[in-house]
Amino acid sequence: MSAIEVRLFLDRARDFLRGMELLEDDLAEYRNSSALLGIHAAISYGDALRVGMGNNRLSSEDHLSAAADLRSMLAARKFEKLQGADRLGRLISQKSKIAYAADTPTEYAIKQVIDQAQRFAYWAEETGKKLKIEGW
């Protein structure tokens, strides 16, 4: 079951990331959408890693704890590159601001989110492979 769930989260993450990259080509029109898809891609990548490492109780209501949970699961496996978990936390903290805040984020801020999402995706892809997560 875990491998199937990993695959579901992973497919979703890659889907969101592709969407982000597609919209990134026209940031004048789709800046918030692109950034939000990047954040959701990161959340889904994080979920894929957590499910793959044995967490069967993911909560869609509590994304903020996802980064801490990911970090502690990786640390328990003595995985050294934990920076990705911190990056996930920073990305998730941007989610409400981009989705709901009254002011419009600058293009620079949006590009920062996109950049961070790409780096997190890269880290997650490497990490999933290194940990030999079933379904990755």
Binding site: E21, R87, E125, G128, K129
Partner: protein, 186 residues
């Protein structure tokens, strides 16, 4: 055209193809002039941070003033051989062990040519078992910024344990020309 100019054109084409693969793939690692499975490959990309499918691009530069249509006629002709007697680019790609394979035709103007695969012997682009088709890209170097066009979409070749192992070993041993910056270097 001098040797230097030819080298510069090939380099610009490789850069353009690298950008094409970066956009097409998800956080790939891209290598230029790679030594892959004992064969030189102009542009090689390993998808998903080096853990996914392997894409290989070989170059086919056209002589100045020769249209892409002429290149396809040549491709369709089994007697096509480079002047040095080496293996034809299509045959070379067929024996290359990787998931996606492309010929990039490099020209100095817009294609100006509607490609109809049926006119040029579509089957020669296919794997013998039909699983996989070599893709054809066209790199137009005539503009200030080179452009890459998909002429014939590539189809995925059969994967194997050997390809996965080759990729793991290659990624471990080689430094990519492009990748998303690593966490530790931020």
């Amino acid at each position: 055209m001098t040797l230097l100019q030819t080298q510069q054109d090939l380099g610009r084409a490789k850069n353009a193809l690298q950008n094409y693969l970066i956009k097409k793939l998800l956080v790939p690692k891209v290598y230029l002039d790679a030594d892959w499975d004992g064969q030189p490959v102009a542009v090689l990309a390993v998808d998903r941070a080096g853990s996914g499918d392997v894409h290989a691009v070989q170059l086919f530069p056209l002589d100045p003033g020769i249209g892409i249509g002429a290149a396809f006629v040549l491709f369709a002709n089994p007697s096509l051989q480079p002047a040095d007697g080496s293996v034809s680019p299509v045959e070379g790609l067929k024996s290359l062990r990787c998931h996606y394979r492309y010929i990039a035709v490099i020209g100095d103007g817009p294609t100006g040519h509607k490609f109809n695969p049926a006119d040029y012997g579509l089957r020669q682009w296919l794997a013998n078992d039909g699983v996989g088709r070599i893709g054809i890209l066209y790199v137009d170097l005539s503009d200030d910024e080179p452009s890459v066009f998909v002429v014939l979409k590539a189809e995925r070749f059969r994967s194997s344990k050997e390809i996965v192992e080759l990729a793991d070993e290659f990624v471990a041993k080689n430094t990519p020309n492009w990748q998303i910056p690593d966490e530790d270097r931020i």
